[in-house]
Structure formats: structure tokens, C-alpha cells
Amino acid sequence: MSTEPTRGHTVKAYDSELAQLRGLVLEMGERVVEQVTDAVAAVIEGDPAPAHDVIERERKIDYFELDVDESIFNIIARRQPAAVDLRLVLALSKVVGNLERAGDKAEDIAECALRIQSREGCPDAAMFHYVSRLGKQACCMMERAMDALARTDVDQALDVFADDRSLADELTAAMRHLMSFVVEDPSRLSQVIDLLFAVKALERIGNHAGNIAEQVIFVAKGRDVRYQSRENVIAALRRREA
């Protein structure tokens, strides 16, 4: 359910500035998802090219953050936003921080891919099972969080919370799964450590998507749900909407 303001500002330029700001953040989100997708592909397919691409493009993600910060700085100085506009601007400031850190994690995964490829011996394809699963889930969460942000959709944001919970379970399963390969063959320890880094990074990316979903709720409801039990937030807001 979208809770977007239904009416534009009397000063149309203000609408345009807020739309541009949000557009910039959404574009940054798309780039981050692309980075994660390519980094995971680099691990699974053993191809160094996408890994190098991810590392090279990481700086562009940082530049997005600088552009968004500058835009927010100007809007606060010139427009003195209030109420939902103020909440949106503050939320976007936090969202870009989360996106930037998610971008860093994608770079970490790309570096894991290069390390794995630089060693002798190719990992067993089965070892990538959870990298693939967690990669898909983290990207799906990030896309859903950005979609929720684009439409100020509380229901979508709550769905991201639910996914975040299952992502933690997936990480636990992934770690057990990867450790089983070390038990079978201790020479795979280095490969497993790199893959553990990768799955942990993917879980963190999912967490950043969850943090972005929190900001969507802040924009829509004026309620800061950080550091609160996600279960309680889901239960309270779903009940309210029902």
C-alpha cells in the first residue's frame, strides 16, 4: 500500500528537487544490485572479468553517495523541509549510507572471487549452492526495499523484514554446508573461508536492505523502527493496516 503524498508542492521546483533526489537514490540502488549480481556471478562462474568490473565500478557507487549528500544538503538549506518531506530527506540520507556499504560488500565478494580463482584447483560446484541462493535472496531483498522506497510502500517494506529473518537462517545453513566440505577435505579450507566471507557479505547486504525498509516505514508512518523487534513491528503494522 503506497502512502505517497497525493498533492504536489505549490513550488513545483521543490517537487522536482525531491523527485530528482529520490531518483538518484533509486538509480544507486539499481547499480548496487547490479554489483551484487555480477560479484556472485564472478564467484560461481569462476570468471575474473565481472569481478574486475565490480571492483572498477565500486568508486561510482561512492560518487552516488556524494551526489545524494550534496543534494540533501542543498534541499535542507534552501527548502527547510518539514513533516513527510523532512522524513523523506533524512531517510534518503540513511538509505544511501546503507547502499554504499552494500556496494562495499559486493566489492568484497568480487575480491573473494579473484582470490578463489587465483588458487590452484577449482572448488566443487556444490560448494556454490548457498552462494547462489543467498545471492538471489539478497538481490531480491534489495530490489524489494528499493521498490518500497520508490512507492513509499509499507507492505513491501514489511516483506523485506520477513525475508531478512529467513536470510539469517540461510546463512546458518550455508555455514554448516560449507564446513562439511572442510571436514571431507581439509585442503579446501582456503576456498571455504573465502566462500564463508562471500555468504556473510551477502547476508550483510540483505541486512542493509532491511535497514532501507526501516527507513521506508519512517517516511510513511513517522515511526522509527530501528533497533526494535522486526516481529513486533510486522505484527503491529500489519494489524493496523488490516
Binding site: 505549490t10 527547510q80 518539514a82 523532512l86 515511526r223 522509527d224 503494522l237 493496523r240
Partner: protein, 287 residues
């Protein structure tokens, strides 16, 4: 009419406030109309100009040691409501006020009330500084003299000094008390008017856009003064500047076409208003 029956008093809890984030109905005030230590208690106040109902059953408290800001678009009734609080609307022949307005428990709308002492108890500062065409000293001394507040010249001198000091003007005018008040700058004139109001020992101070004719520096001086005056008085201010309302008040009331739409802590009104009309107004979407 039972005013409380018309008023939706909401919890200030975040979850509760979220429930009302898209209210669009008009006729019920959203938020808590009461003050912790009320000096003025207004209930179901209606104001008619002839047949036109300019204020529609407005209920609101003005509390001791607080500034209540009244905001809203032109013609919303905020100044009309403010003028009810010391019966300034009596001066308009077609105006008729109904409901209840109590000052410290005493009904001020009773016909038997003498409005002269009432207007000393509930002082008013207007949009445009309006010093008397007299000396600075006489501007402040006039009220205490006609109300018989002081018994001697020495007492009057002391009261003039105290009032000018409280209004933050003493240091600037102490050496020229005999000069005309109209010779002061706009900001100084407004502070002189505030000193004049304070001099008759009011309980409540009403301010109707007190800074709209002033530059930003003079405005900041007045705003600082309002904050200091809050320690001793109950203050209600009408302002068109939302930033000013946000800066100086503890509670904010939003008026729209004669209805009091929403009242709340100023922090809440400017970050998370509960009524759509309030949000549209303070975010600049009103139209």
C-alpha cells in the same frame, strides 16, 4: 455542546500516531487540546460575523509557561480566535462569540465582565508596532497609571525600568526615555509595545504576527524575548511563518476555514502531523 465529545485526543505514542497519519476529516480536532497548567480554557467557541460562521466550535487551552502557536492560511480564523481571548472582537459590531472562554476559571464571555481590566490581564501585541505618540517612558507608564498599579513616581519609574528590561529594551533606551517612542526602529518599537503590555502585569500575552513587519535580526530578538517571557506568562502567538512557529512554540494549533484541525506538541506537528490538511500546509502543498 460538550467540546470534548468533538475532540479526538490521541496518544502521543509513535504507534498510535501512525494510525492517524492520513486523517482527512474536518470537524473534529486531532490531538490533545488541553494544557498541563491551563490559564485560558476555551471550549466550543464559535464566532459569527453576521451570518458567517468564522470560527467553528474551537476548543483549546493556553497553558502557563508555554507558547501556543496558531498557524494556518489566510482567512482560516486564527487571528479571529486570538482576538476572542481578550474580547477584541467586541469592537466589531457584527461579531458574535458563543461558547466558553475561561481565564483562571472565570468566564470572560459574560456580559458583565469589564473588558478594560481583562485586556490588561490578557495583553496583546499587534502585527505593526503601535507605540503611542508619546515618550518612551510614557508609553510604558501609561497603562500602570490608568490601572492604578503604582502608588508613587518611584514605583512607576521602577516598573518602567523592569518592563523595559524584561522586553530587552532597557539598555538601548535608558538614556533617552524622554524621546518619542515612534523614533525607535521597528524592532525596538515592537519591544516597546511588549514592555507596555508587560507593565500592566498580564497573565496571558497574545501576539498577532508580531514579527511580520520586522527584519530577520529584529525578529530573532523578539523570538528570544518570547522564549524568556514564557518563564512568567502564558503566550499565544499567531504567525504566518511556520519556521517561527516551529522555533518559538511548545504547542502548535493548525486552523483551516474556521476549524481547528489539529493541535499537538510542536515537534510532532512539524515532523509527523496526523491530519492530511496539516501536513499539506506545513509542507507547502496547500492549494
Amino acid at each position: 455542546m460538550n467540546a470534548t465529545a468533538e475532540t479526538v485526543v490521541t496518544s502521543t505514542g509513535a504507534m498510535s500516531s501512525a494510525a492517524l497519519s492520513s486523517r482527512t476529516d474536518v470537524g473534529q480536532t486531532v490531538g490533545d487540546i488541553t494544557a498541563k497548567n491551563p490559564r485560558m480554557v476555551c471550549r466550543a467557541v464559535d464566532v459569527y460575523y453576521g451570518e458567517k460562521r468564522a470560527i467553528k466550535s474551537v476548543s483549546l487551552d493556553i497553558g502557563q509557561n508555554e507558547v501556543v502557536a496558531m498557524i494556518g492560511p489566510s482567512g482560516c480564523g486564527k487571528s479571529t480566535f486570538l482576538r476572542c481571548l481578550n474580547r477584541m472582537n467586541d469592537t466589531i459590531p457584527s461579531a458574535r462569540v458563543t461558547g466558553s472562554i475561561k481565564l483562571d476559571g472565570r468566564e470572560i464571555l459574560d456580559k458583565g465582565i469589564d473588558v478594560v481590566p481583562l485586556r490588561a490581564q490578557v495583553g496583546m501585541v499587534f502585527q505593526k508596532p503601535n507605540p503611542f505618540p508619546k515618550s518612551i517612558y510614557e508609553n510604558v507608564a501609561y497603562g500602570p497609571r490608568i490601572h492604578g498599579i503604582t502608588n508613587s513616581k518611584a514605583e512607576l519609574d521602577a516598573l518602567v525600568e523592569t518592563s523595559l528590561t524584561k522586553a530587552g529594551l532597557w539598555k538601548e533606551v535608558k538614556d533617552r526615555l524622554g524621546e518619542p517612542g515612534t523614533g525607535l526602529s521597528g524592532g525596538q518599537q515592537q519591544r516597546l509595545c511588549i514592555a507596555r503590555t508587560i507593565a500592566v502585569s498580564p497573565e496571558v500575552i497574545l501576539m498577532d504576527e508580531p514579527c511580520s513587519a520586522l527584519d530577520p535580526i529584529a525578529t530573532a530578538v523578539i523570538e528570544e524575548l518570547i522564549d524568556e517571557l514564557r518563564e512568567n506568562y502564558a503566550i499565544a502567538i499567531v504567525t504566518h511563518s511556520m519556521q517561527q512557529a516551529a522555533r518559538v512554540s511548545q504547542r502548535t494549533a493548525y486552523f483551516h476555514l474556521g476549524d481547528l484541525i489539529e493541535v499537538g506538541e510542536t515537534d510532532q506537528i512539524f515532523t509527523n502531523p496526523q491530519h492530511k490538511l496539516t501536513e499539506d500546509y506545513i509542507t507547502g502543498r496547500f492549494g
